[in-house]
Symmetry: C2
Subunit: 390 residues, 2 copies
């Protein structure tokens, strides 16, 4: 292991060179990083790379950083619980995906990638576009044609090529792979093992500042956030800077409930045509098995939230000065449900990351919480706006 770590297939156990541009094992399963924990790691500086000794990196000269990590945490009493709201939407491109992108793109750069492609419903595309741009790597981002307009614009403004794909979400990845040219790396936030490694740092930061919470309530789409946070707390516990691994509660949106279904049987809702929490509207995440195992191992569970509940949480947060996208509000709606269903107890301390910025979804938020953005177009009558917004 000259790099100090290796890649291991989560399905068949085969090992792979750490500088591979392959995005999965020949057997079809996702790869994982296997890196021995240092005895007494020394953390220095701020942000994701503060935890350099716990992160896989092919070459120290290849780090691509935009100031990700070290996000603020605000403490609020919510539903009788001491919630640690970690403001992941204050990362450089407006979501927690930046933590994954910095580790993935730094390694792709070290491995010599000159062009990459990614499929994303939005935030991961924004993050990878920005880091690729900063690294001087050409980047093509495949998005569903119905992805939020602000996210599509953001991707294009970073200089990435934007490819809009009509049809269902699954078609986006299919088209990417069909068009993938030799030498272009598939830099998938769902498959790439380095991406998840970057997400571990959320847990490290919480553990260093607050110790281990009793539980973590996490929105689950691809499951990368959940796997990263779980792995991060597990490592922090083994190294002694977290007392335990918190119970992990997965939050899914009605219509997209593979984790819930695997744990408790089919939830049974139809996928809505326009899901409010578009960031977690993912029916078949490739790492589903790992996600379900992590939830079980932690002694946690899963809850499903409806659009009405997400909208309520969205308004609660905005009126408290926290403007997040609907997917983030799903976590807060999930916290409420987790308390109601006994997965989280009153008085417990619970990590709830707020994952994505509301600035990318203003119209959607206004629609969901019953504001009237039409008053803001052109010749608005000020008094009327005041009356409606007050």
């Amino acid at each position: 292991m000259p790099a100090g770590f290796r890649l291991v297939c989560s399905g068949c156990g085969r090992t792979h060179a750490p500088d591979t541009l392959a995005w999965r094992c020949e057997c079809g399963s996702p790869l994982d990083v296997e890196k021995p924990l240092p005895a007494e790691p020394r953390f220095e500086g701020r942000g994701v790379w503060r935890y350099r000794p716990l992160l896989p990196l092919l070459d120290d000269r290849s780090v691509v950083t935009l100031g990700e990590g070290s996000t603020p945490t605000v403490e609020r009493d919510l539903y009788g619980v001491e919630a640690l709201l970690k403001l992941e939407y204050l990362n450089p491109t407006g979501s927690f995906k930046d933590r994954g992108a910095t580790v993935m793109v730094s390694n792709l750069k070290a491995a010599g990638a000159r062009e990459i492609a990614i499929d994303s419903s939005g935030n991961a595309g924004c993050a990878v576009a920005a880091y690729a741009s900063a690294a001087g790597i050409r980047c093509r981002v495949y998005v569903p044609a119905g992805a939020p307009r602000a996210k599509k614009m953001q991707i294009a403004l970073y200089g990435a090529e934007l490819v809009e794909v009509p049809g269902p979400r699954s078609e986006v990845g299919r088209k990417l792979l069909a068009e993938l040219k030799p030498g272009v790396a598939y830099a998938s936030h769902m498959w790439n093992p380095y991406f998840i490694e970057g997400l571990k740092t959320i847990a490290y930061e919480v553990a260093e500042r607050f110790g281990a919470p009793d539980a973590a309530v996490l929105p689950v789409g691809s499951g990368g956030l959940l796997l990263g946070v779980h792995r991060g707390f597990a490592e922090a516990a083994r190294l002694g800077f977290a007392e335990r691994v918190p119970r992990i509660v997965a939050v899914q949106a009605a219509g997209y409930t593979p984790v819930y279904d695997a744990l408790y049987g089919p939830y049974g809702a139809e996928p809505p045509a326009e899901p409010l929490a578009d960031g977690i509207a993912i029916p078949n995440p490739p790492r589903l098995k790992q996600v379900v195992e992590a939830v079980r191992e932690s002694g946690g569970g899963a809850v499903v939230v409806e659009d009405r509940e997400i909208a309520e949480a969205l308004k609660l947060l905005a009126r408290a000065g926290l403007l997040v996208e609907p997917t983030s509000a799903a976590a807060v709606a999930g916290l409420r449900k987790a308390v109601e269903q006994g997965l989280v107890e009153r008085g417990e301390r619970v990590l709830v990351p707020l994952t994505g910025s509301g600035l990318k979804a203003l119209d959607k938020i206004a629609g969901a919480i019953g504001e009237a953005p039409r008053h803001l177009e052109g010749g608005a009558n000020a008094a009327e706006v005041g009356a409606e917004a007050g």
Copy 2:
């Protein structure tokens, strides 16, 4: 001084009670905080309130925080200069104004304000709306009717009353004052002395982490940023955690050049109908005299940038993964000009805060840097978008 500080008129020197809701002295001049520096202040925690011993606060129980401050700094070589780009746009509402809002709103809360009003071209309105909402204070925000749509939506989503005022910027403040009811505090980011005090923390953070830079290049609209940064470095120097006060270079946009004019004589450009850097399109800042004095005292100067130069800097930043609003890019365009004009020397270390988020100005940015956002509306042809954006 039971509060440990007092308010002093910058014009006539008269003192005022620190819990006043008056927004200026009877003589018409702005007020300043006068607070003796502690001998050996102890800084604890993160963010703006890490510097509690150096900030005026009427009541420790009234702090309203949303996780502001402790923003990342990325170091880049720009125009031969070692630039410290401080990512102020990663503050909670997307701009540096949050640092001022947390100190101002905390004191308004302590002083018993139940309703406040502010006039703003956008970012200050967003910040004050969010903190007021978090504090449970009713808030009315007067904006120019032509203010960016995203900022108006953001203000309304926090739950503030939005009042759109047609006509020139000066009309916005006039209408607010004409409609101001007894008992409602005018919480102006331009006039309020607590607001500027919060902005000092930018300098403290830079001084603590990097020491004093050789110069600071700052966009100037109301001048609050410049006054706060100048005061912050001056205090850090007196306390010994900065070696010196850096030379301050004020950056203004053609058409809005009161600082430049006062230093060197009239620049002479007409105000454009739609200024690209809308955040600094302020013709008559109330603290102009103080701003000019601070620049002179620091041994700095002023530069004026044109829209074409701002657009160039905007694209340079976006392609490096830093998506900021045009007003922030004006600072980088100003850095280039400051180097050309000898106000900053090659090899020097220079603080350049990137003040506001590009996510609030996507269409404006796309228009300025020559992207084609029309491709992103509805039935875009993906290949075409790729070709144009690549």
